[in-house]
């Protein structure tokens, strides 16, 4: 039954988050290994099933048969043969396993490798493009939606701000745990650009508490040109809202409340670029990760989702979120303790509907 189920799995529609639909060379290598093992296992299963069903059918008790069976106690040749047979099969699997393992674990090097630092948080992802810098030295920081160019080796260097997470976009590579106090690496290489607004889904794969299920990842794959354009756009600060608009009123609230946790980089009318919000340094092994307490909201509206890839980014959902975040996503902000670095989600800010509308209007200007 189960082999049948697995065969069905191998040929039915698999969905956009399936390891069986590889979209890059690493995932393809892994899928190739899977195919090898799957078909070998299936062959063994068929062999065993035939023997087994035959034995059960042929040697069932039949009505009227009073004879007793021969009392065979064993057969050393069969035993040794069975052991040799299994060892040979496993040897066939183990060689490509070890070779594939060394390939998958190799950390890519060279000037053409895109370096991205990843920080896992309960329950969202932070990405810093350490080599993409603005004239004033700022690096590109974004959250939850990762953008990479096609056919390029991308090296993720990852740590966690709190508990263990695991970064996983199945169509590109297997998962890799994101462990506090350590840095781990994962290579991403994607074959084809994704259509605009239709990123590749992935999600955290190591149980990390309440909203583990809602710690999702969206991966946008660009052509080289469109990636360069995206980087430029992200590095350029949004303007502070003009006086007298709803967004300006929203900024007063935002600057008083939201910048406790969120960073945003803005440019005032004199052209001065300021990054608001808390700076936080997280150490993972010998790597330092620039971070904050909540997702960086610069160019929020260039994203397609929010809440760590969980909700579509539109005014209705965002209004609901700013009003009562826990109604959308299970979190435990009552136990937040910023001093010790413990953040378990966004609290209910107690804003009135007018203030909420103003804040959302502000966020909408960060395209």
């Amino acid at each position: 039954m189960a082999p049948l189920v697995l065969v069905l799995a191998a040929c039915s529609g698999n969905g956009p988050q399936s390891a069986l639909e590889p979209g890059g060379p690493i995932a393809k290598d892994i899928d190739g290994l899977w195919d090898l093992v799957f078909w070998l296992a299936t062959a063994v299963m068929i062999f065993v099933t035939i023997l087994y069903v035959w034995a059960i059918w042929r040697y069932r008790e039949r009505a009227g048969d009073e004879s007793e069976p021969k009392q065979a106690h064993g057969n050393t040749a069969i035993e040794v043969g069975g052991v040799v047979f299994s060892v040979v099969l496993l040897a066939i699997i183990s060689v490509p396993t070890v070779r594939g393992l060394l390939d998958v674990r190799a950390i890519p090097e060279g000037p053409d490798v895109l370096q991205i630092q990843v920080t896992g948080h309960q329950w969202w992802w932070e990405f810093e493009y350490v080599d993409e810098t603005a004239p004033d030295g700022r690096t590109l920081i974004t959250a939850n939606e990762l953008h990479i160019p096609e056919d390029t080796r991308v090296n993720l260097t990852m740590t966690s701000a709190d508990v263990i997470h695991s970064f996983w976009v199945p169509t590109i590579n297997g998962k890799r745990d994101v462990v506090p106090g350590r840095s781990s690496n994962l290579t991403l290489i994607a074959d084809d650009p994704t259509p605009p607004g239709e990123p590749i889904p992935g999600q955290c794969a190591e149980f990390c508490g309440l909203a583990h299920a809602d710690m999702r990842i969206k991966l946008h794959v660009h052509t080289a040109d469109s990636f360069a354009a995206w980087v430029e756009e992200q590095l350029a600060p949004s303007p502070l809202p003009a006086e007298g608009t709803a967004a300006a009123a929203g900024w007063d609230t935002f600057n008083a409340v939201c910048t406790t946790c969120h960073q945003v980089t803005l440019e005032d009318v004199e052209g001065e670029v300021v990054t608001y919000g808390p700076d936080r340094l997280i150490t993972g092994g010998d790597v330092e990760f620039r971070s904050s307490f909540g997702p960086n909201l610069t160019h929020l509206f260039s994203r397609t989702t929010f809440g760590s890839g969980t909700f579509p980014l539109d005014v209705a959902h965002l209004t609901q979120w700013v009003d009562n975040p826990q109604a959308l996503k299970p979190m435990d902000p009552d136990r937040n303790d910023l001093a010790s670095g413990r953040v378990l989600g966004m609290p209910d800010l107690g804003l009135d509907p007018v203030e909420i509308a103003q804040v959302v209007a502000l966020l909408e200007t960060w395209k």
Binding site: A2, P16, A72, V163, E206, L210
Partner: protein, 633 residues
Amino acid sequence: MTTTAADQQIIRSPGQRGVWAWITTVDHKRIGLLYAVTAAAFFFIGGLEALLVRTQLFGPDLEVLSAAAYNQLFTMHGLTMVFLVVMPIAAAFTNYFLPILIGARDVAFPRLNAFSYWLFLLAGLLIYSSFLLGGAPDGAWVGYAPLSTQLTEVVRMDFWSIGLQLLGVASIASSANFIATVFTMRAPGMTMLRMPVFAWMSLVVAFLLIFSLPSVAIGLFQLFLDRNYGALFYASAAGGDPLLWQHLFWIFGHPEVYVLVLPAMGIVSEVLPTFARKPLFGYPFVVFAGAAIGFVGFGVWSHHMFTSGMGPLAEAGFGVATMIIAVPTGVKIFNWIGTLWGGKIKFNTPMLFSVAFIAMFTIGGLSGVTHAVVPSDTQQHDTYYVVAHFHYVLFGGAIFGYVSGVYYWFPKWTGRMLNETLGKIHFWLALIGFNLTFGPMHILGLNGMPRRTYRYPDGLGWANWNAVATIGAYIILLAFLVFAWNIVRSHFLAKGERVGNDPWDGRTLEWTIASPPPVHNFDEVPVVHSLDDFWHQKYAEDEEGRAVRMPAVTGGALTVDKKTGGEGDDDGEHLDIHMPSPSYYPALSALGIATLGAGLIYLPWGFFAVGIGGAIMLWGLFGWSLEPVTKEH
């Protein structure tokens, strides 16, 4: 030593009946039944938790359970099924049958045996009391640090760490007991290689537990200290290491997998020869394969950590070691098929479950090999593919094996058969429900569904298979309700067919004694001449090697056709056999330790309970060591 009248009334149990008799019992058979009944109760609770989880996952973005409730339920489901169901049901069979199978009248340390049971029960109740005391553990049964140490102001994970610690003490005590029993209590002639495979597997399991539990015990102590006293073993910011917990846990956790499944393999190795009417094919290979699985099982723990961040060389080593463990497992499967080959197979319910065990376990074993392929495992790890794999091993495998054991030995426990028709309904419902539930999970995992997620969005292609899995789960519920009814009907309503000593034409010593067995098991300690001794008392072989029935045995150690019923009350005194007297000290000691443990959860004011529990424990242990072992005459 003289005993006073007060001793007789207070210290000694006055009889065989009533609650007090059960609390003070040191009879391995009664303790076995206590384990069985407790495990059955926890099985239905753990099953209910699974059904709630499956109901929540029936469709995308359902709101049957909150995330908080979901996390508690899947944590408690895993914890319950591993520690409060499968381990104790294995302990139930081992307690009841290990002494009988090797021709002993009891285990080596009957009171220690009682202590193990009571501590297990109280630890289980302690863990479950958390539901009423602010919430159950919610950090998954593996309790990875630092998630499990993150919220020290919430005690739910303390229930988990203390509860597991107590269960570990109970398991170590019973393992030491079983090892001593096998090494010192075998009947004359019962050499190691004449022991039934089930006895062998019990021995291997006892060694596995003795060597693996200390690792997780240390881990749990460290975790407890981290949580309550800021010890920082697992706090990376202070130089601790979260991966240390994973190593300590899985050094226990992987052998634990074999602890769960080896006794079931032992049962299957008893059932197959009986119903095929042939000896087990390659007995020494099956025994040594079991022992080999035990040994190699200690060298593969890190295959649970292929995504954690070990170096590639270590990963390659653990991957290859994991493949190696498939070899002795394959040996077992081929020998089971060899046992059926050329036999004359009767498909009674015990046999159906054993046959299904082999098929389901083979599937689980093969999907296990795919995990050993490390790059491939980086896709499968922590997904529903893994959930499918270990349910094929532990439900289609272990549980089916234990259910087979229940049908097989039920007449020995009660003197009555379970109903065959109900048994077959149970079997087919269980087999279909099981495969519907866990077969699709392979696909879900490969299609990217992570485990331990309380909801999933539409559009990822997961909805249909999740619906199928949930329907399957309800069919499993139906199957086990039929099972429960079968047991109630046969035993409690006394409608089961009454049978004699040997309803299956069995091969091993338990079928030589009454059903249910007398307290002292054997009127005369049997002298064993071969493997499957009882079979050879009944059958010779002709020149072609076919079994030939011999004339009924009379006299000697093995009386076959003894009258049945009422034997359970025979304490052997009339035969001048002295069985250990009942004692309440084991239960008292267990109560003391459990109280002490409960106090630790609520430090600092829990020190009060720690003190009381400690005093009770000492009282129990002193009374235990000072009381005479048997009644005076």
